[in-house]
Symmetry: C2
């Protein structure tokens, strides 16, 4: 039994590749034909896997769009902020460190993805669900840092407001696709940090 946490075996690499392939073909078909007009069967055929396999990788059709690898990154970046820091500022920094490193191309991809999500009700719902999960996660981290209870009303409330602000930012992005996402989030969080003066 060898210890190698860094280099995943063939099996793992293959899985990652399959997941990426399915997602790539799915997004391509969605762009061409629209989300609703594209069936899972078509996606599976394009990616050369069986529909069964599709559902093994993505429990629901929506997840093929909604799934991304950002959450754990943001969480990690958030946790690595200095202990005494204001939680809102900590989140600002975390967002900056994650999205700030993206290139032009990657940002454009993400903007397109967001536009697609917001244009399809089922996808929008799924995304919101993830945000909601994030409320609870973020609340838990706040609580850990401050020694408060994770179910403390004030903690949940702050986390809720944060998520609400992010929702607003997405809405703004949707209405104004050329905006700089990172700057927008940053400004919005700053606004919240200042107590939301009108």
């Amino acid at each position: 039994m060898t210890f190698n946490a860094d280099k995943p075996g063939l099996r793992q690499r293959k899985k990652a590749k399959t997941r990426a392939t399915i997602q790539k073909h799915a997004l391509g078909l969605f762009r061409k034909q629209g989300y609703d007009a594209t069936t899972v069967e078509q996606i599976a055929a394009a990616a050369e896997v069986s529909p069964s396999t599709f559902f093994r990788y993505f429990p629901a059709k929506e997840d093929v769009v909604t799934w991304d690898e950002f959450d754990p990154l943001i969480i990690a970046a958030f946790k690595s902020q200095p202990a005494g820091m204001n939680p809102i500022e900590a989140l600002r920094n975390a967002m900056k460190s994650v999205f700030g490193s993206f290139g032009e191309k990657r940002i454009t991809e993400q903007k397109e993805r967001l536009a697609l999500i917001l244009s399809v009700p089922a996808l929008k719902s799924r995304l919101l669900d993830q945000f909601f999960g994030l409320v609870q996660l973020v609340a838990g981290i706040f609580a850990d840092r401050t020694g408060h209870d994770g179910n403390d009303v004030k903690v949940l409330n702050l986390a809720g407001a944060l998520v609400g602000v992010m929702m607003a930012a997405m809405l703004t992005m949707d209405k104004n696709p050329d905006a700089d996402f990172l700057a927008l989030i940053d400004a919005s969080l700053a606004h919240l940090e200042d107590g939301l003066p009108q």
Copy 2:
């Protein structure tokens, strides 16, 4: 052609009754068997209508739980607050005036409904979707009152934070079912009004 906006004809009364009947039977079955284990066919049979009719009244199975008449009431109450009032306070008052009039029984019903919604992913998503819509609605009303643009980032941001705080309140209610919903919302909005001190 007679003008009678107040007394709906037989047709309208019947429709309202049918909608209520379907909803009542649906909620009853959900309580007994669970949401997923109850089919639309069963609901339709219990309510003595055809499945077609079910879908005419509720476009999706989820809507039979998620649908309520509160939004327009809250909006109206909000709009009727004095023009110069701080928007957060205005919302506090609106919530009070709508939910404050509820009896013990009605409150219990709503708490049960919330618990059901939060326990079923599909329902939770649907609810969050409504909240998302609310951000835009609330932003629009803020804008009207203050003369700002409804797409103004600060306006959207404030609306987002408000809605986020309401989401957090629901979460708290879920974890702590004995809490007083109205008092909780009130405290949370006050907290937001104070700039969310930790």
